[in-house]
Amino acid sequence: MRRARPGWFWLAATWLAAASASADPYYLIVAGLGGEPRFEQRFSEQAEKLAEAARRTTGKPDQVIVLQGAEATGDNLRAAFAKLAGTLRSTDSLIVFLIGHGSFDGEEYKLNLPGPDITGKALGELLASVPAGAQLVMNATSASGAVLESWKANGRTVVTATRSGAERTATRFAEHWIAALSSGEADTDKNGLISAQEAFDYASRSVADSYEAEGILATEHPQIAGDNAARLTVARLGTRPAETPELTRLSARMAEIEGELEALRLRRDELDSETYLNELQALLLQLANVQREIDEAQAARAAPE
């Protein structure tokens, strides 16, 4: 097996520790028109699961907007974006999940909604209207690949279920993305947080595996664009950490060790294998001990007095 060379994982953990404390993301979850009872039910269940993961992650239910069923109209969607545009600042982050059916006629992508559909162009403008410095938009609809290029923007990560607008079959991507948000397997760096990159990697692989297991050609090929996917948390696996002076001190110590680990990694090629592993072990043991202290402090705060 090829071993992954760690790099930004450690820095990401540090960044997240800071970011998650100061800027919990805002979520907008839209489940479009199902058209058939089975799709209506599926999209509704998926929207609920996404909302549950979002609330668990932010700890602030009012930062999670869900539009589904008859509520998911174009007008309501525009209103939700207007509210976000008025609330968020450049230091905030916005996560948008779109599930349902999409269509593409060769020129224009549309998200199917109760009432008039909304075009990809209009959705792109709505995204641009929110001044959040970091954005993630996950479009799990059929034909979603049609918007990949046009939705790219600075600070924005775009995830689509399909490679292009030509992949028009109902997709499986959403269910695998949702599975990623509560999967320890998706959390490859084991920091208890699922980044957009981790969710994408897990979901896209699961989609491919599911088609392969059935022996059929895949009709969707998920895509990701943007360079901050690894730094953007989409879900938390456990409960939110408490914030105390002691925990802040320990977190700072952990960040220091992580910095030393990164420095060691950069020197890896200068060291023989045994020396590298010994130095790595020393730092990892320090990290483990600090981690244990943090976990114990968290547990103590959680325990009833």
């Binding site: 992954a4 760690p6 953990a13 397997e185 760096d189 297991a213 680990l261 990892l284 043991l285 483990a288």
Partner: protein
């Protein structure tokens, strides 16, 4: 008309296909050239055809001359122009169809033959064209076309030869001889070329154990370069799986006629079946020069090219086994690491088992190829009649679909390999003289009794055939494989053959099967083998076997419709989530046909009904029963393993997961879970193996792989390796709590 834009074909003018013999009346200008060709006077014949092509004012005659010269493009152009001139001429279209047969475009040829018959419903050459296509595909309808022709003209030589050939392919040698004698009488009386009659007579001698036939000498006296006679004989070796003997004959064919491209192609394909890859490639490449549009040649050359992506692992004979001749595995590089240990273990297990059961020791290493791309595997089987879609055995070489070549759960690769390995023994023990039915019968019987999947797996088509009295007498069972008369007859024949072997083993013991095998090795036909080994005549055997079937399966057959109704009911109720009713219907179906564990099995519905009502203990019991009868649905086995583990029966869970690997060996989660269960059971060495397989499949969560490996190494007492694996895990995921904890424990 579609053919106007013919893209094709065409071979350079000097290319020579096999000699095409015409029995119909031909104008003297053409017949003169034909006579030179039949006598092997190639230069003279070519000059004659060329002159005719250049000077004849008859378009169709120019087309015939061009075809004989191998200039298929010119021939096609001339036929097209001729048909435009005379669109209602049935004979022209039938002749044009023959050109398409020369260039491997059977569907276009069939279209032309049908168009010919639209213009003249009794046109004999068109009927014979259709018969030729059908016979080449081993389709029984060939017989119908030939019958029509012979009814109108009992002396039609081409029809007599086609029928004789079909009889020979089915092993009906006496009937073949009758037709050939008649054909010989006609050609001699009419002064027609006798070469094809001689070739089939020589083939008849070959099938009677006399390959050095006097007919060969007669043919070569008539035409000293008639390599086709050896090629014809070789065909009958190939379809009876005697590839080595076929190769020797094909070598003689190309020696006699070096530009007999069809023989080079056959030689290449059969050398490949003997694992002689380089030599096969040389002959195929040469054949490609003369016949670049043959799908078989092109596909086989592509297959050989794809071998670059395969890993060949040679395993010397296992010193601990008196029977192991060595095993060579050709596996795709993408999956070789994972599949190799399981394939090797099963192959070696089968060799040990079959060597004892059939008192035969293999003399050459067994070669096993697994193809992830079904099309590659299909190329391996091209040109063989009634070959199952999952695997094929060419003596010591087994080729089959890899587990990744089909949807998960679609086939049980372990059983397929076991089946094919049984063929290795029946073929090699008899120098490939074993009849098809017996080889298949033993393989199916061994699947059911000693293979990795227990129980008979009888498809409904077999029970229907039994109910409708469509099973064949034992002496004619081969016909069901080679030229089936109804859609499911091949699979029905497999099952019948398996049940025949089961019956023999139950009444005469394994010794009965061994004795038959010995007689087949001596060249006995089925009736002689039955009476010699079992002391009973073939007809009496058929009656006794019918009694056995009634006793074993009569109840199920009688209740087939009731079972169908219960099955349908169970599925409908389950779909509606009416679990109590689904359970009742499923139990009814199981009571009527308890051995049915294949697609849509009622056991699965029964287990689901219990699960949905919260009774996982009974759900597990149901799945255990399902598994014991040979059920292998991967989702069901995974659930069974989980429930067994939850109930504390780790060893049983391990058994189920090991079974699951014989269906889905490339599933990451199964390797990981099996490793976990083995570790819990204190079987750390085996756990380590499973974790290594897990790692080889490149799982998403790399840190977790290293952590699992660390656990196994630690359990084996290798703390240094465990420490390294933990460091690798934490290097990827520094916050990995379980890995941190173990590292702290190890270094403390």
């Amino acid at each position: 008309m579609r053919r106007l834009a013919l893209p094709l074909l065409l071979v350079a003018a000097e290319a020579v296909a096999g000699l095409s013999i015409e029995y119909g009346e031909r104008p003297e200008e053409l017949a003169r050239c034909d006579r030179a060709a039949y006598r092997g006077k190639r230069a003279e014949a070519n000059a004659c055809y060329l002159e005719l092509f250049q000077t004849s004012e008859e378009l169709w005659m120019r087309a015939e001359a061009a075809r004989a010269l191998g200039d298929y493009r010119a021939a096609n152009d001339a036929f097209k122009a001729a048909v435009e001139q005379r669109p209602d001429d049935a004979a022209l279209r039938a002749r044009w169809g023959r050109l398409y047969l020369d260039t491997h475009q059977a569907n276009e040829a069939v279209q032309l033959f049908l168009e010919s018959l639209e213009r003249d419903a009794k046109h004999v050459p068109a009927k014979l064209g259709l018969a030729t296509v059908a016979a080449g595909r081993f389709e029984d309808r060939a017989r119908g076309y030939v019958g029509e022709v012979l009814e109108a003209d009992p002396d039609n030589v081409e029809a007599l030869l086609l029928l004789a050939r079909m009889h020979l392919e089915e092993g009906a040698l006496d009937r073949a001889r009758e037709r050939l004698d008649k054909a010989l009488e006609v050609v001699e009386a009419k002064g027609l070329p006798p070469l094809e009659v001689y070739a089939l007579h020589a083939s008849l001698d070959l099938l009677n154990g006399q390959p050095e036939s006097p007919w060969i000498e007669r043919a070569l006296a008539y035409n000293p370069t008639y390599g086709e006679i050896y090629e014809t004989q070789a065909h009958f070796y190939v379809i009876t799986r005697r590839y080595r003997e076929a190769i020797e004959l094909l070598r003689k064919a190309v020696e006699l006629k070096p530009d007999l491209y069809s023989a080079h192609a056959e030689l290449g394909v059969n050398l490949l079946r003997e694992n002689k890859v380089d030599e096969a490639q040389r002959h195929l490449a040469f054949a490609y020069r003369g016949d670049p549009y043959s799908p078989q040649i092109v596909n086989t050359l592509r297959l050989i090219d794809s071998f670059d992506n395969f890993v060949v692992a040679t395993h010397e004979p296992d010193e601990g086994s008196p029977y192991d001749p060595g095993v060579i595995l050709r596996l795709h590089e993408r999956e070789a690491e994972v599949l190799e240990p399981y394939v090797l273990a099963l192959v070696r297990d089968s060799i040990a088992r079959f060597s004892e059961r059939y008192a035969f020791t293999l003399k050459e290493p067994v070669v096993v190829e697994l193809y992830p791309d079904h099309d590659d595997f299909a190329v391996r089987t091209s040109g063989l009649p009634g070959i199952g879609l999952l695997g094929v055995t060419f003596g010591h070489l087994v080729a089959m679909d890899s587990p990744s070549g089909r949807a998960e759960g679609e086939f049980h690769w372990g059983t397929t390999l076991w089946h094919e390995m049984a063929h290795v023994f029946t073929l090699e023990a008899t120098a490939h003289l074993v009849p098809r039915w017996f080889s298949e019968g033993v393989s199916v019987y061994e699947e059911w009794t000693t293979g990795p999947l227990p129980g008979r797996h009888l498809p409904i088509a077999f029970l229907e055939a039994m109910r409708d009295d469509r099973l064949l007498p034992i002496a004619e069972l081969d016909r069901g494989f080679i030229r089936p008369t109804y859609a499911a007859q091949v699979v029905v024949s497999y099952m019948q053959a398996g049940l025949v072997c089961e019956y023999i083993a139950s009444r005469w013991g394994q010794e009965g099967l061994r004795a038959m095998l010995e007689l087949f090795a001596e060249g006995a036909e089925t009736p002689a083998a039955i009476s010699g080994a079992l002391g009973i005549g073939a007809e009496a055997f058929d009656e006794a076997f019918a009694d056995y079937l009634r006793q074993e399966l009569g109840g199920v057959v009688a209740n087939l419709e009731a079972w169908r109704g219960a099955q349908r009911d169970a599925h409908v109720r389950a779909e509606a989530r009416e679990w109590a009713r689904a359970l009742e219907a499923a139990e009814r179906a199981i009571a009527l046909f308890p051995d049915y564990v294949d697609e849509g099995s009622a056991y699965l519905i029964k287990a689901k009904a219990y699960e949905e009502t919260g009774d996982t203990a009974r759900a597990a019991q149901t799945l255990a029963e399902y598994r014991s009868r040979g059920g292998y649905d991967p989702t069901a086995l995974k659930a069974l393993a989980k429930w067994l583990h939850e109930s504390g029966d780790t060893e049983a869970a391990i058994g189920v997961l090991e079974d699951l690997l014989l269906v889905a060996p490339l599933r990451l989660d199964v390797h990981a879970e099996l490793g976990d269960r083995l570790l819990e059971a204190g079987r750390a060495e085996q756990a380590l193996h499973e974790y290594r397989m897990f790692a080889a499949l490149d799982p998403h969560d790399k840190a977790n792989v290293h952590y699992r490996l660390a656990r196994a190494h630690r359990a084996l007492g290798d703390t240094e390796e465990a420490r390294k694996q933990l460091l690798y895990a934490l290097e990827i995921a520094p916050h990995y709590r379980d890995a941190q904890q173990m590292l702290l424990e190890i270094v403390r």
